[in-house]
């Protein structure tokens, strides 16, 4: 074999060996990156669920509004207890849990459709509470304008009546903004306290939060 061909072959083999080394290294890195991504997916940045109140938090009375089973008054208030945790969001979440659980009294009916889950809550500095419900709130809704008004104001009034820091409530469904809940009631703008459809008189002055 001529000498120059031998040299060329040696150089070629050496080059291939280096290329193979690089390839193995790159594949290894990609695999490790993918593994890292999977780990990130399994452990999202969301902090672990904290308890909504501390054992030392005092209990306070709140009024939770539910649709009346009969009669002309649309929403009737039921007295329930929550714990006065220092975080406003935690107090709001406790109230939403009460709304989700439904009334204890037989003269009232649950306001949220079956399987509706409260998913998330964010309260802005301006006092707007953004609440995200699972899409069951819309898909499982029985229909009817009055029922829809009752569902929405059960949430809005229960929050804004008991927590005056929350001035208005914006309802999201499945994480996104929807035009209406189930075809009738407009959800594009945040809604404020409206006691005209309830059996509760407006407070003269709301100062303390869930006193």
């Amino acid at each position: 074999m001529p000498r120059h061909i031998t040299i060329a072959l040696v150089v070629l083999i050496a080059g291939l060996a280096v290329a193979l080394g690089f390839f193995v290294d790159v594949v290894g890195r990609v695999q490790s990156m993918m593994k890292n991504e999977r780990e990130t997916e399994e452990n999202p940045f969301k902090p672990p669920t904290q308890p909504l109140y501390a054992p030392t938090d005092p209990a306070v009375n709140v009024k939770i509004f539910f649709p009346a089973a009969s009669g002309d008054t649309l929403l009737v208030a039921e007295d329930q207890m929550i714990f006065k945790s220092s975080e406003l969001a935690n107090r709001a979440k406790q109230i939403l849990q009460k709304v989700q659980e439904g009334p204890h009294d037989a003269s009232m009916v649950p306001s949220l459709p079956k399987e509706t889950k409260f998913q998330d809550l964010f309260i802005s500095e301006q006092g707007t509470a953004f609440i995200d419900f699972s899409s069951a709130i819309a898909t499982n809704h029985p229909g009817g304008v009055l029922n829809e008004v009752a569902t929405i104001y059960s949430i809005v009034d229960s929050l804004t009546y008991n927590l005056p820091e929350i001035r208005e409530v914006k309802i999201l469904i499945g994480g996104v903004e929807k035009e209406t809940l189930a075809g009738h009631c407009l959800l594009l703008l945040p809604l404020e306290l409206d006691l005209s459809m309830t059996n509760v008189m407006p407070r003269e002055e709301k100062t303390a939060s869930a006193q």
């Binding site: 649709p67 089973a69 009969s70 002309d72 649309l74 009916v109 029985p142 229909g143 009817g144 304008v145 009055l146 029922n147 008004v149 035009e179 209406t180 075809g183 009738h184 009631c185 407009l186 594009l188 703008l189 809604l191 404020e192 409206d194 005209s196 459809m197």
Partner: protein, 485 residues
């Protein structure tokens, strides 16, 4: 090769010139006559030949070829314009026009803003021009507004024309696909120049007064047979119905033909009626069934009752009645209120049934829009004028009238159907929020209550319900709030 390249370049240049410089006829309406000028549109700017305009207004001017200036005089005032400059001098004050003045082929071409910014000051004649239109009104010329809307109504397509003053409409079908609706009044000020509709019968509608006479040019398809023109409201409103070829539509949906018995049976003459156009919205439709019972669905029940209500309103009040849907189709809330808004309805009634958890409940509700809904967003926009109001705040103008209509309907329904209770309620409802006329949503009965459902599907009960609603609407029409709109 070089020749081909030159030819291609020349063709491209020609095409570019063709695109960017187009000649259009541009009428200028003066109190003592009109002037038709050839306007050049270059880069979306309308240029007008100023000397023709000055000639019409008898304003003297001096054209200096050497100085490349045009000096216009009126009394002691002087306006000087210079070729290729956007700066004009008025009594030695400098005014900046948005586009420069041109001099081409011995013609002085000024951007249309020159009339409003320069010539108005010199002559004292006010020029009114809306960007996007092809006409200018000068001085005391009165141009009544003309509105054009098109709507597909089942088998027909209806073009609705509304003018602020009585007009006469003459149909010319010289070109079978481009019928012309000649208007006997010139000038008029169309709220929009042209719009596309694109259904089976109508492609587009365009206003044209480039020859100095007002007309509307329709672009229709070959499926159109007859054009039926019906005047209303003392010739202020015209309905132009496009009928399909071979279609034997004698009763146009939603319109009582004044020539036939329908209007003759009407209890009130057109002059007595204040609520002239009523839009009824049968709730839900298509895949959205609404509330359900074992024997009916809300969408079907509401369509049946809405159709009966339409007939009763046409027969008894002689009103123009439109349904937002006349078949089992899905519509979003925006489309529903758009039917009422676009047809300038005087009343919108949305019909729904209730479904209460209480099986014995027989309560019904009449909803009006929640009073303070969207107040914050209005406050944000009041610093500017209220020309642009968000779509969902259309209800604000007629909220009082809506409340009056709801109370009248509640009283009438309580009297007409004494077994049931009716309450007026407020809620932030999507269809009412954007309605720019008195509007109510009625939720009738309870589909969870067997006897209530039986009554709702019963024809005799439906007749009673419909007649009661017509009585209520008639009372509203005669009331102070009904006449106010």
């Amino acid at each position: 090769m070089k020749k081909i390249f030159t030819a291609v370049l020349a063709a491209a240049l020609g095409a570019a010139l063709f695109i960017f410089a187009a000649d259009v006829n541009f009428p200028i309406y003066f109190p003592d006559g009109k002037l038709l000028v050839k306007a050049d549109v270059m880069n979306r700017t309308v240029y007008l030949p100023v000397r023709e305009i000055l000639g019409q207004m008898n304003v003297p001017y001096t054209d200096s070829v050497s100085l490349e200036t045009l000096t216009i005089r009126s009394g002691t005032n002087r306006l000087v314009v210079t070729k290729n400059s956007g700066l004009i001098s008025y009594n030695d004050q400098i005014i900046l026009l948005p586009n420069p003045i041109l001099r081409e082929d011995n013609r002085w071409l000024v951007p249309v803003e020159f009339l409003t910014m320069g010539l108005s000051r010199l002559t004292g004649t006010e020029f009114r021009y809306r960007p996007g239109t092809s006409r200018v009104f000068a001085g005391s010329v009165e141009a009544p507004e003309l509105e054009m809307n098109a709507q597909t109504l089942g088998p027909i397509t209806r073009l609705t024309l509304r003018c602020a003053v009585p007009i006469k409409l003459d149909v010319k079908r010289d070109d079978p696909l481009k019928p012309i609706l000649a208007i006997d009044r010139t000038p008029v000020d169309p709220s929009r120049e042209r719009f596309d509709h694109k259904d089976r019968l109508l492609r587009s509608v365009a206003f044209d007064d480039s020859d100095g006479s007002s007309k509307i040019v329709l672009d229709i398809t070959r499926d159109v047979g007859d054009l039926r023109v019906t005047a209303a409201d003392n010739n202020r409103v015209y309905f132009v119905d496009l009928l399909r070829k071979g279609d034997t539509v004698t009763q146009v949906p939603g319109l009582a033909d004044p020539g036939t018995g329908t209007a003759a049976k009407a209890e009130f003459s057109a002059a007595d009626r204040k609520v002239r156009v009523i839009v009824i919205d049968p709730g839900h439709g298509g895949t959205d069934t609404g509330a359900k019972s074992s024997i009916t669905t809300e969408k079907d029940l509401m369509l049946t009752i809405s159709r009966r209500l339409r007939t009763a309103l046409q027969m008894r009040l002689g009103a123009t009645v439109l349904l937002t849907r006349d078949s089992d189709t899905a519509l979003d809330n925006e489309a529903r209120s758009a039917v009422a808004n676009n047809n300038q309805a005087n009343l919108l009634i949305s019909l729904h049934t209730g479904i209460s958890v209480d099986k014995v409940a027989s309560g019904s509700s009449i909803f009006i829009m929640k009073e303070d809904f969207g107040d914050k967003s209005v406050v944000a926009s009041t610093s500017r004028d209220q020309l642009f109001l968000p779509w969902y705040l259309g209800y604000r103008v007629h909220r009082r009238a809506s409340a009056a209509a709801a109370n009248i309907l509640r009283d009438q329904l309580t009297k007409g159907i004494p077994d049931w209770t009716f309450s007026v309620r407020t809620a932030p409802l999507a269809i009412l929020s954007s309605a720019t006329m008195p509007s109510v949503l009625i939720e009738i009965g309870n589909l969870n209550n067997a006897s209530s459902t039986q009554m709702l599907v019963d024809a005799a009960f439906q007749t009673r319900l419909v007649n009661t609603l017509v009585d209520g609407i008639q009372r509203f029409s005669e009331s102070a709030q009904g006449t106010a709109n």
